[in-house]
């Protein structure tokens, strides 16, 4: 058994070349153990989504490697293969873009179940309903198309779809950024439930408040590099980098206010 379920080693991602060259991710390394909740936090453009896509097997890194259970998953220019393909699943900020507008939640999830389990239509629908129910989507809403659902419901449908593969890692890229406060609370509660069941979660967000609530360790990302990383609580209580202090002070509500007072004193 490898020490880590998922590991990024010296990963860099460069887009374009010459004057349009963008170094989105620069030599970052990250580890994730089974069942662990970790966070990646930073402002827009810091490279979070690119790194998440690399971890999810959707983007071949320019340099470095990704290990899943100790095995390199990008073979040359090829994307994820085998178990990693199934076991690492990703959900996106805007489930509108990732859900087929023509498919009901039930059909979308059942389709994903069939891809992974190769079962009959009836069995896959039964399993899909189960997954949707677990995500707080009742049968009445399961038969609606994405545009008839609220943002929070759409997000939970896409999580149910990701879960149809029975993953061991869930990568969630800004899952709460586009939804209401109460929908956010609902999704975070569900994530907590998934952690209790042993799923590892990589939560990507620009909001340290969300990261604090769910994760045990955090990587603070700026301009493609990790400027600080460690135990979430420690980084909260004693941030080293100015950038981390800025992120802390920006959390809406009491946390941000407290951080700003601390910042002004020092």
């Amino acid at each position: 058994m490898a020490d880590f379920l998922l590991e990024a080693k010296n990963v860099s991602v460069t887009f374009g070349s010459g004057s349009t060259k963008v170094e989105a991710v620069k030599n970052v390394s990250l580890t994730l153990r089974a069942g662990e909740p970790i966070g990646i936090v930073g402002e827009s453009g810091s490279g979070k989504s690119t790194l998440a896509r690399v971890l999810a097997g959707l983007q071949v890194p320019t340099e470095g490697e990704i290990l899943f259970n100790g095995e390199s998953v990008y073979k040359g220019s090829k994307a994820y293969t085998g178990e990693a393909r199934r076991q690492v699943q990703m959900v996106f900020q805007d489930p509108y873009g990732s859900l087929n507008p023509q498919l009901t939640g039930l059909n979308a999830v059942a389709e994903a179940v069939r891809i992974h389990d190769k079962t009959s239509k009836e069995l896959s629908e039964e399993r899909a309903l189960q997954l949707l129910r677990r995500m707080g989507i009742a049968e009445l809403d399961a038969i609606k198309k994405p545009r008839q659902l609220s943002g929070g419901q759409r997000q939970r449908v896409s999580v149910a779809r990701a879960l149809s593969a029975s993953p061991t890692v869930l990568l969630a890229d800004e899952p709460t950024s586009a939804i209401d406060q109460s929908a956010q609370a609902q999704l975070l509660n569900l994530f907590r439930g998934l952690l209790d069941e042993g799923l590892a979660i990589v939560l990507v967000s620009h909001d340290l408040g969300v990261i604090r609530y769910l994760t045990k360790r955090v990587y603070v990302m700026k301009d493609g590099v990790f400027v600080e990383s460690g135990v979430t609580e420690e980084i909260f209580n004693d941030p080293r980098e100015e950038y981390t202090k800025l992120l802390l002070a920006s959390i809406p509500g009491d946390l941000g206010v407290a951080a700003r007072q601390k910042l002004n004193k020092s």
């Binding site: 406060q181 609370a185 620009h206 408040g209 604090r212 769910l214 992120l247 920006s250 809406p252 509500g253």
Partner: protein, 329 residues
């Protein structure tokens, strides 16, 4: 009229509907009640679909463009009726006294106009066409944009989301309005940028004395920057009070909303969520429209009209007929 006792804006028993030729009128707000005082920062909070944007449209006279109509009640601006204002009244009011930063302004400003052209348009709408260039620069400085000369020549796509939002705020301030309405100005922006925009709004309020309405679904944000809070649920104002008063909310919806804030939650603890969804417009049952989600619902909650806001106007008011049961929550 001045900052005497009359509030700047009075929203009184406002009912908004969308009339249809063949079907019955669809009611989307019933009822809204609240005041905005001069120089005050008021937050309107509620889930999406609760009617926040529609209420703002009554204040800037763009309800009809969305097929909406004030069915009853009134909105008073410095004591004068807006519900009965003619389009020529609106021409004078809109932009002169009330500035509006529309929801998803991030998609705007007009993509084919330079920032200079956008500001010039906003400034010309004030009727005063003198010194447009220097006034444009002043506006950008007002919203804390640096390298003003460069920015004036740029197109919206060349600016970051935060900068675009500052430009939109600058346009809304072109007429030195008494009221600035910002409809979810930071949805989709980073929290770092959100925090800067909030600082900007606070500064505009304190230096120019502008009253500000901030719409958001984030109670933590509103709690941090506003003086007063208006809580909306399914087309009704269900609670109104100062931020201090709302520390102890007195409506089951606000109580739940307050407990779902992650900034005050223990990491990893169970977050309070609100059962189910708000009833959609067109699917409202009699009585309290929070009934299906309420943990202290009683039989009489489901009959008659939606509860009225109770309590002295301008201070803590709640639209719940069973506040005596609140301690059970």
């Amino acid at each position: 009229m001045s900052a005497s006792n009359t509030p700047l804006i009075q929203v009184r028993d406002v009912v908004i509907g969308i009339p249809h030729k063949r079907r019955p009128t669809l009611t989307i707000v019933n009822k809204a009640n609240f005041d905005i005082n001069y120089g005050e920062m008021v937050g309107i909070v509620g889930e999406s679909g609760s009617g926040k944007t529609m209420i703002c449209r009554t204040m800037i006279g763009t309800l009809e463009r969305r097929g909406g109509k004030i069915l009853s009640g009134d909105v008073l601006f410095e004591g004068e009726s807006l519900a009965r204002a003619s389009e020529s009244d609106w021409k004078k009011l809109r932009g002169k006294s009330i500035g509006y930063v529309p929801q998803s302004a991030l998609a705007g400003p007009n993509p084919v106009l330079t920032i200079e052209a956008q500001l010039a348009e906003a400034l010309r709408n004030t009727g005063d066409t003198k010194n447009i260039k220097s006034r444009s620069k002043e506006l950008l400085e007002l919203v804390k944009i640096r390298r003003v000369d460069t920015v004036l020549k740029q197109y919206p796509y060349q600016l970051s989301g935060g900068m675009r939002q500052r430009v939109m705020i600058a346009c809304a301030l072109a007429t030195s309005p008494k009221l600035l309405i910002a409809d979810e100005p930071t949805t989709g922006l980073d929290v770092t940028v959100q925090s800067q925009i909030m600082d900007l709004l606070k500064e505009i309020r304190s230096t120019m004395g502008t009253a500000i309405v901030l719409i958001s679904h984030d109670l933590a944000l509103i709690d941090e920057v506003c003086d007063r809070v208006v809580v909306m649920h399914a087309g009704a104002t269900v609670e109104v009070g100062s931020v201090k008063e709302l520390v102890k909310p007195r409506h089951p919806y606000t109580i739940a909303l307050n407990s779902s804030r992650i900034d005050i939650a223990q990491p990893g603890s169970e977050l309070v969520t609100i059962k189910g969804n708000a009833p959609s417009v067109g699917e409202w049952n009699p009585g309290c429209r929070f009934a299906d989600r309420c943990s202290i619902v009683q039989a009489d909650c489901r009959t008659g009209e939606h509860p009225e806001l109770i309590g002295a106007s301008g201070t803590h008011q709640t639209a719940c007929i069973h506040t005596e049961l609140l301690e059970r929550i």
